[in-house]
């Protein structure tokens, strides 16, 4: 519930006035000059109290009337879009499926995050935040049924404005052993995430397996030294999103992203936006180079998790003390993102003021009754 003129709600404090008046006025008792009080007996003190409350309907009607006036003056805003729960079925999020499609029965929504495999149309995994973002465009809460854990979707945790129920549907098919493998691998990724600095990340990669691992070289021309470090983190985030293992080469200008779970050597990762700044070039049998110039605007216009953009904004360079997993973006940023999707609110119809008429009549009637008797 939100209010057009919220300051009017302070007027609710004025509800104490009729209560005070009620109990003060009740103290005044009617007096009758009587011939003789010989045949009368004084009232017991005990029953005085119950009589004072005998006119509570009048007090109640006054309170209701007054609070209605105040609430109407505060102009309650109603949502034009009713609060609903959306049910979504995620077809899959594992790399064997090229796209994540979410269906609510009527529409099918596709989520892509700019990482494409060259042997599939898209080999991409959406950001959890992107997902939430889309789901919550016009809903209060969502239920997502998926074969995979929501961890595969996310970068780092953020505080969500809306509630999402995530149901995992067991997957029967053979190729989903991969999913299990991915889950095992997740621990490694977490180690990486817990690592303090980039150096730690490279240590977790077994040098002996280096040869077996299909690698993908991404070469970036970075002009700004600070921007370079952020891009390193960006790449790590991308790795987390897609459950890839990342090997950072010694070179300052190249990152190696390896997919050790895929037999195929033809996996490649590139920006979804083909017209984007990065260009992919094959430099060997299994080596590709992603090159280009990434600017802040490119990142912002991409479909990347919002907290990452925030990271980019803030140039968080102190990697030693930085834990990606516990990183919480400023709430301000998040709410701003949500506010854009907040349904349009509309003030209550002016005809609601007519409700005061019957309330007023009831109040007058009760008042008349109490003064008459």
């Amino acid at each position: 519930m939100s209010w057009g003129t919220g300051i009017a709600l302070w007027g609710l404090a004025g509800l104490t006035i009729p209560i005070i008046i009620h109990f003060l006025s009740k103290r005044k008792k009617k007096e009758v000059l009587f011939g003789t009080t010989r045949f009368l007996e004084p009232l017991e003190a005990k029953s005085t109290r119950s009589i004072r409350f005998s006119e509570w309907p009048l007090l109640l009607s006054r309170l209701v009337l007054l609070s209605s006036v105040i609430l109407l003056a505060a102009r309650p805003l109603t949502r034009t879009i009713p609060a609903t729960t959306a049910y979504w079925i995620a077809t899959d999020v594992i790399p064997t499926i090229s796209t994540l499609s979410l269906s609510d029965g009527a529409d099918i929504h596709y989520f892509k995050i700019g990482l494409f495999g060259h042997d599939h149309d898209t080999l991409s995994l959406p950001s959890y935040y992107t997902l939430i973002d889309r789901l919550n465009a016009d809903r209060d809460s969502s239920v997502v049924c998926s074969h995979s854990d929501r961890r595969y979707f996310r970068g780092s945790e953020i505080e969500l404005a809306a509630h999402v129920d995530w149901h995992i549907i067991p997957y029967q098919e053979e190729e989903f052993d991969l999913a299990m493998a991915k889950k095992d691998k997740q621990t490694d990724i977490e180690i990486i995430n817990k690592g303090k600095a980039l150096q730690t990340i490279s240590k977790t990669v077994d040098p002996n397996r280096q040869e077996d691992i299909d690698t993908l070289h991404i070469a970036l021309n970075i002009k700004d030294e600070n921007a370079k470090k952020d891009i390193e983190k960006l790449i790590i985030e991308l790795g987390k999103l897609s459950a890839y293992e990342i090997n950072i080469s010694e070179s300052n200008t190249a990152w190696m992203i390896t997919d050790e779970y895929t037999e195929s050597s033809t996996n490649q990762i590139r920006w979804a936006d083909q017209s984007g700044p990065l260009r992919l070039t094959q430099i060997g049998d299994q080596h590709y180079e992603l090159s280009g110039e990434i600017t802040r605007d490119h990142i912002l216009s991409s479909n990347l998790p919002i907290q990452l953009l925030d990271l980019w904004d803030r140039h968080m360079l102190d990697m030693d003390s930085y834990d990606l997993r516990s990183y919480n973006p400023p709430k301000k940023e998040v709410t701003k993102q949500i506010d854009q999707n907040t349904p349009i609110k509309q003030a209550a119809h002016p005809l609601w003021w007519l409700i005061l008429l019957p309330l007023w009549f009831i109040e007058r009637w009760l008042s008349y009754k109490s003064t008459e008797s």
């Binding site: 009758v32 000059l33 009587f34 011939g35 003789t36 045949f39 004084p42 009589i51």
Partner: protein
Amino acid sequence: MPTAPFILPSLIDTASKLEWIAKALAKGILLGKHSSRTLGQGMEFEQYRPYVQGDDLRQLDWKMYAKSGKYFIRQSTIEANHSMELLIDNSPSMDYQEGTHTKLDIAKIIAATLSYAILRQGDSAALTTRDQHIHLRNGMPQWHRITDRLSHMSTTTDPYSYAQQSDRMLIWITDLYDTAEAVDALIRSLQGPGTELMVVHIMGDREAELDFDAETTFIDLETGDRMQVDAPRYRDTYRERLQQHLQRMSELLLSHSVHYHRVSMTDPSPEMIRSIVSSYHQISMA
């Protein structure tokens, strides 16, 4: 049938207004009555009886003697003037108000009307209150004296200063809230040879039924005591107690052969006056 004027308290605050009201109310009881301006006994013929020694010679019917040659005394039912003394209890409890009138207002109107009726018939009337007294006289000037005194009358805590009289009809207009002992003493002091006493008891309907709200404070007009009472809850007990009191009073009055007539505090109407006059006639004819 003349309809009663709607009598407002402001209509009885001067003697002339009170007289106007009394005349209007008395119309109903005077209607059809042949009032005689001539005083004296034996105007209405009843019977003849033979003259015996010792009879007043003035009562001899000389025409009858001329016809029959015997002495006859002419007799009449009206042997004497009816003397009415209005005794108004103007104690503070008579200030009890119900509707537009206090009990005292009603007492004033009754007294003014009855005295008008009695004086118009050629009888004589007197007025006694706790603090005032007008001697027995006849004629309309007496009525103006009474109404003037009535219109200025207010309540007082003084005791009655009543001198015992004889041969008169006493009408005591009261609320009967005195104690039984006081009433007994008063009746004893009033009763003399040839006196008849009639009590006109004024009692309000709401007063009789204790028709008041819960948590009403009752102020005793006599003592000034304040008492908060849950009237609806206490109603039955009150009625019972009041009934006991009235029962005691009625026994007391009966033991003294005093006639009792109760009027309510509704707007004084010709019917109300007529009912009083009717009881009055019953007593005076007896």
